[in-house]
Homo-oligomer: 306 residues x 2
């Protein structure tokens, strides 16, 4: 029986994925719950134990939206419908009697890349999560950077166009309204191109970003334009973000980034083309090397250990 | 005789200002050299000693453009004409036999505010220097943040307008082409307004930013427009920069910022109006409290002690 395991939990708006992770970053057991069915989050430890009772683990790491690593609370997460302040760390520590740490998904991803993925050799890097929104997990001096209030690194809400797309935060032109899964889908509606009328994308009722990448691969020029538009904006802004912490690398993680080398190369091209002289040759754009489909579980487990 | 003094040196393109600073942040002696007359920087320690020989000091702090705090070298500073790599720390340590530290002017200003000025109570803040260009000195977790290569915090070169004003760095639309002394002077030429034709500013042969503030005070609406344009852009971008490190405060320092409460209030207004919800009520915009006209000497001295 393995005694060196960590329980990693990834709480999302749709699913709660969890798994037992060993020292090598392998997931030896995986489970899943529907978020909507967990009406009372204080019961979550018990529901997870029902599936993991054959294992023991040393510590627990939880990745969740709107989480405050300092207080151990999930604060006001609109997609979870669990109320205002959920003391999730307390629930787990009381139930399992092992140390439990909470962080947001981008920070979990960053620690995951540091321990098991593309950032093993870096002390200063930024993981950019490209999911429903755009998040950033920043490493400075070999440590995750939380900021004084636990809320540093909201790169998705840097406003890049004063009169740009309305954002869920109430402001306009935030980077994530362009460079994210939802941003790319908005681009299908909002971008214009001579090739748009012939594109299969405009016929789809519920398109997803994968449809855009597939269409591009089949030669659809409107799909290619959307990808190029997204990569150009992202690369331009990664070049700008280098002016903050001058990281050794930006690592693209999740959703869109999974579409691999084609997208990474484009983003890298536009990043390098826009870097300040001072930084040229010093900043790489890489893809995540957490290839498991539940990389977020790995990240959460890694955060518990870091 | 005082034995607790620090020699602070501020190396600029025009002048080299230096002074002996006591523990309370008072400058007890001040001297000055013309940068152009210092043909060989290895002679700088001797030239400074000619003026400071009545004093002893424990350490030396130097603020200079294009300086690398890790190597102790001034690297490739175009305004100094001293060649490529100047081992300025070595020159001073060999001559005076006391510990010597080098940093750029924005970091020196930040440490000055921390020890003697507006940032005494903050552990996370950003000093924005508004001089010929725009610089940033970032404090994270009560320490100056240099980044891995000593080049973090180049906020003046965040590109805020893709097709904006050409910048000395070779790129376009950098923040300092708008929000700096030179940026404001460019605004006299480049902005349009129904009040421009009647403005005294367009008649001046060599205007400086003070002329703009004076004209505004006398009711010139074009001057007011330039100030508002500058403050709005700066406030909008401070709000965006909050997404990096979520500082407790931005502190406006130098040149333009000396024009005081009027400008600070405008910048604060536009910063608060554009902050992400998460940060609202948590970020102040303050003015420098290093009131000495040679605040940069204080900053350099503070850096030596920090």
């Amino acid at each position: 029986m393995q005694t060196d395991l960590t329980l990693g939990i990834d709480i999302g708006g749709t699913n709660i994925a969890f798994g037992l992770v060993n020292q090598e970053g392998e997931i030896v057991f995986e489970g899943n719950l529907s978020t909507a069915e967990v009406r009372n989050p204080s019961l979550l430890p018990e529901l997870i134990e029902e599936q993991t009772q054959n294992y023991t683990f040393r510590e627990i790491g939880i990745g969740a939206p709107s989480s405050n690593t300092f207080s151990g609370m999930i604060e006001n997460a609109p997609n979870l419908r669990w109320g205002v302040n959920i003391p999730i760390v307390e629930y787990f520590e009381n139930y399992f009697k092992v140390p439990t740490k909470l962080t947001n998904d981008a920070n979990a991803a960053a620690v995951g890349e540091k321990l098991f993925g593309a950032a093993k050799d870096f002390s200063e890097f930024v993981v950019i999560t490209l999911g429903t929104g755009l998040g950033a997990g920043i490493f400075i001096n070999n440590e995750i950077f939380n900021g004084k209030f636990g809320t540093a690194g909201e790169f998705g809400h840097v406003m890049v166009d004063k009169d740009g797309r309305p954002c869920g935060c109430g402001r306009k032109g935030c980077l994530e309204t362009y460079c994210s899964a939802t941003g790319m889908l908005r681009s299908i509606d909002l971008l214009t191109s001579p090739h748009k009328a012939n594109s299969p994308l405009v016929e789809l009722e519920n398109p997803n970003p994968l449809d855009i990448f597939n269409a591009a691969q089949q030669g659809d020029q409107f799909a290619e334009y959307i990808i190029d538009f997204t990569a150009e904006k992202l690369g331009y802004w990664l070049a700008n973000f280098a002016c903050f912490s001058n990281p050794e690398a930006f690592i693209l993680f999740g959703g869109i980034a999974k579409n691999g080398e084609y997208f990474r190369q484009k983003v890298d091209h536009y990043t390098q083309a826009n870097l300040l002289n001072l930084y040229q040759g010093k900043v790489q754009v890489l893809s995540s090397e957490l290839h498991h489909r539940n990389a977020a579980i790995l990240g959460a487990a890694a955060y518990a250990k870091y």
